[in-house]
Structure formats: C-alpha cells, structure tokens
Symmetry: C2
Subunit: 179 residues, 2 copies
C-alpha cells in the first residue's frame, strides 16, 4: 500500500464517517438511513432481544397491542434500584405486537380468553444521554418497523412531548418494573 | 473434629437428604415444603427473573391477567431453533400479574386504553426431564404464590391434562416465541 492510496482511503473514510454514523459494512437494502431515527440518530441496539424484561403491557383501543419492555444492564440496574434520573447509557426497548386471540389456546381451554402476540407492530428505543439529548430531557428516541427506522420527523417530534406527561420523578419514563 | 462427631454429622445429613430435597440452609418461614411443588418437587429456579423473554400474553375472563414467559438458556435456544421435543434441562417460567388499568398512563394519553401489571398472581415453572417426569410427558410443574409453592396436589394434577391439549408437535407447551 503506497502513501497516496492510504491518504485517499483515509479521506474517503473520513467523509463517510462525517456524513453517516453507521459502519461501512451496512447491508441495509434501503440504504444506511434506514437504520437510524431522524432527529435523534438512534439505532436498533445489537442484541436487544436478549435483554432482561422490565415489564409488559396491553394497550387497547386503536393501538390494540401487547407489549414487552426490555432493558440493557444499565436500565435494569436503575429500575431495580429506583435510580432517577436514569444514568447515561440506559437503553429501553419497547416491543409491540398486535393483540390477537389464540384460537389454539381458546380451543384448549374451551373459552375465548387467551390473547397472544400477533405480528410485530413496531419497536421503540429510548436512549439516555443527558448531554447529547439535552433538549429532550436527556432522551433520544427511535421507532423501527420490520427492522427499519421510521424516517418521519413529524413522528419523532411527538415522542418527547408525550413523555413529558409522566410524573416529574419518573425522568420521562412511563414504565414501572414488574416485580 | 473427631470421628464420632463426623459420623453423627454424616448420618444426620444423610437423614435430612433422604427426607427432604432442599438444602439445609433453607430459611423459609413455613418450612422447607414451602419451596417445592407437590408431586413434581419443582422449585423456583435461582435467577429466573434475569432470564430472556420468550413471549407475553393476556388472559381475559376470570384470570384477567398479563403474562410474561421467560426461559433459561436451554429453553431460549430450543424456542429459537424450533427444537421439539424440548431438551432435558429446559425450564420455562410463566409470570403473571393482574391486568389493571394504568390511571397514570390513561391520564397522560387522555384515553382509557392502557393496562399494566398489577399485583403478582402466581409464578408457574415447567421443567423438562424426560426420564424423571416420564408419566407427564417429560414435564414437571410447580406453581408459586408470593415465593411459596402452592401445596395443593389437586392443583398439580390439573397441569399435565391441560397441557395435553396442545398440538402433538408442541411437546405440551402452549407458548410460541414472539419475534
């Protein structure tokens, strides 16, 4: 490798790094922007499906979903110890699926009572970084559908205003740890 | 320590081991039987609350609960790879809480739609050991309330008959892995 080649490669890498936070090995069909949320630049965290469970929920009405809320190690520790505000590095993953009846379970039980996850609706990721996200209470947000970031800036602008409706002592987080 | 003392201690330990499967350091208020299910001798697995999530569910009707199903490493691997029957050592933990409205969330959203975990109802543990539990499809069961085993043999006798209502290919397990 000669010096000219090295310099060219270094410049190309610097330009790529400056224009996109993603690794150069991105294999997203729709381009690298599919992986990061607008405004906040939040990505799907690697291995989030292996994270421990904070809680579950059921949103009825229009949403009609079943939810699971998982957290990285920093999140779990903070939830268990009641640490507020959440420390930097806290990441919360909210999974949701359509709330659908389980025909199989209902047939087994002889009653229409069992609801299970249907198709995934979306994945929402909340990242705590008090400095980076100072304008939104220290939280960055992303919503992902089928593994791709929802690129609507309008949608992203609804996240924080909604989370401001939590109690002041909750550091903008709705979820409680399920014992 | 002289030999007589050693022999006495060994005999005492042997008697204890023969009459009770639990460690001698049990600190259960109600005695060691509070920790194991009747018939199957299943205990609450250490660290189960740190296990990864298999799925969630909502049982309406009389049960009126929200559920989370967690699994140990063997269970998670089998669910993800579709291994059936489940290998020995599979342990599945089904947590459940009352399905209660979140007044706080509903006030924030301006709609009556949000349901979250209330008080814990019970914890059910399923353990796969094809040889030990040969008479119940290879599964041993336990139900725990407030950390104590439900000691009703009649209840324990309802577990396997209900699980036989699953499809033959499901190895007596209702839950599906939530993607």
């Amino acid at each position: 490798m000669n010096l000219t080649y090295f310099r060219s490669a270094a410049i190309a890498a610097a330009i790529a790094a400056a224009t996109c936070f993603l690794p150069l090995t991105s294999n997203s069909v729709g381009g690298s922007h599919d992986k990061i949320s607008p405004i906040f630049g939040v990505e799907i965290p690697a291995g989030y499906r292996d994270w421990r469970m904070i809680s579950v929920a059921h949103e009825a009405g229009d949403l009609n979903d079943l939810r699971a809320v998982l957290g990285n190690d920093i999140a779990i520790k903070a939830f268990r110890e009641g640490t507020r505000p959440f420390p930097d590095g806290t990441v919360i993953a909210r999974l949701a699926w359509k709330h659908v009846p389980s025909q199989e379970n209902n047939a087994a039980f002889g009653r229409e009572q069992s609801f299970v996850p249907g198709v995934s609706t979306n994945l929402q990721i909340s990242v705590k970084d008090a400095k980076k996200y100072i304008e939104t209470g220290g939280w960055g947000y992303g919503q992902f559908e089928g593994g791709r970031a929802n690129r609507s800036e309008a949608l992203m602008k609804t996240c924080f205003p909604c989370h401001t409706r939590t109690k002041p002592t909750d550091d903008f987080v709705f979820t409680r740890y399920a014992q």
